[in-house]
Symmetry: C2
DNA sequence: GTCTATAAGCAGATAGAC
DNA sequence: GTCTATCTGCTTATAGAC
């Protein structure tokens, strides 16, 4: 049971509010009120609203980057890599579900240098995933559909998982992983 | 080549801006500037910013509602219904791609009565889709995975299609439909 | 570390002239 | 139908007392 700093508390509270109402709709007063302090007091711990956003988004973006690099470096088949990516997404969703709202919906409000860092990480991530799929098609492990359609279909599902996790979070994670992998890889019929 | 009213023009311009920056970030001044008029002039055609949002969202929501009702009433197998739903989503995405950003991301900013109307339509839509899937499982047409996982997986992909359509809109729609149906229904392997 | 007070700017919206 | 001028309230952020 670790004690969290005031800055970490701000980020935690802000993540929840951003998840509920979106970055632009949440004011510094809203965040302060939720912590039972005044808005001005926040500025003793953080430099501004932008900093809260970038701390939330970049931390999770780095988790995805590291996770994907780990999968890529493993010596397993393409299909097994896809499975690992799906499982990694589910794990990160469980640990950072509220932060994922900002990452998915509010990344465009990052300020310039953080914005380009985020976009770079996101593009690299997609490119790594694309390579896995293309390799799987070349090796005959994956059916030769348009690789972009496959990439998009899996990524959209994984990226919006955080929305669904909050509503039906009770579902056992192992069952979720098993069924999600099965549905995405083996299809419906 | 139909001439559009000033009100329709406002809604069209606003849809594009909401797609690019989100409802909360776009000001009435932004919309007016994009039309080369002053913000005050907008109020001669619409009652306020909220009205612009509800016009955009509810129109498309009704398209989905009607489309789903048509599919449900057809006398075809569950798998064929799923195919029809996917094709309908692709058609609506092509026709209303910018409006779909507001529908997906800004529906929570609708005012009370429009908000509840939208939520009702959305829930009915999901329930109809859920019934199709459950029926398919009962009839043995669809594998007996958790129906919520199947529903969520297909819906997430279809709901974020508008993002992808803008980037790679050049792809032939018939190829997209064929591959999307194949990937979502038959899977990767 | 939190407070009060306040600055400077932008938001949605209205009144009334043309 | 569009304009200018303006109102009211909220935004992020800072200064300085305690």
């Amino acid at each position: 049971m670790k004690t969290i700093s005031r800055k970490e508390e701000i980020i935690q509270v802000a993540s929840r509010l951003f998840y509920e109402k979106g970055y632009k709709t949440v004011s510094m007063r809203d965040i302060a009120t939720a912590m039972d302090i005044k808005a001005a007091s926040l500025y003793n711990h953080i430099n501004g609203k932008q900093e809260i956003l970038s701390e939330i988004i970049l931390k999770v973006a780095e988790e995805f980057t590291v996770g994907m690099e780990n999968v890529v470096s493993e010596k397993i088949s393409a299909i097994e890599k896809v499975e690992k990516v799906i499982e990694m997404h589910i794990d990160i969703t469980v640990n950072y579900s509220e932060a994922l709202a900002a990452l998915n919906n509010d990344w465009m409000h990052l300020e310039k240098s953080n914005l380009s860092a985020f976009v770079k990480m996101r593009e690299d991530y997609e490119e790594n995933f694309r390579k896995i799929i293309k390799q799987g098609i070349e090796m005959g492990e994956i059916k030769a559909h348009h690789p972009e359609v496959i990439l998009f279909s899996i990524l959209s599902t994984l990226r919006t998982l955080y929305l669904w996790y909050q509503k039906r979070g009770k579902l056992d994670m192992n069952i979720l992983k098993r069924d999600m992998v099965a549905v995405l890889i083996k299809g419906l019929i």
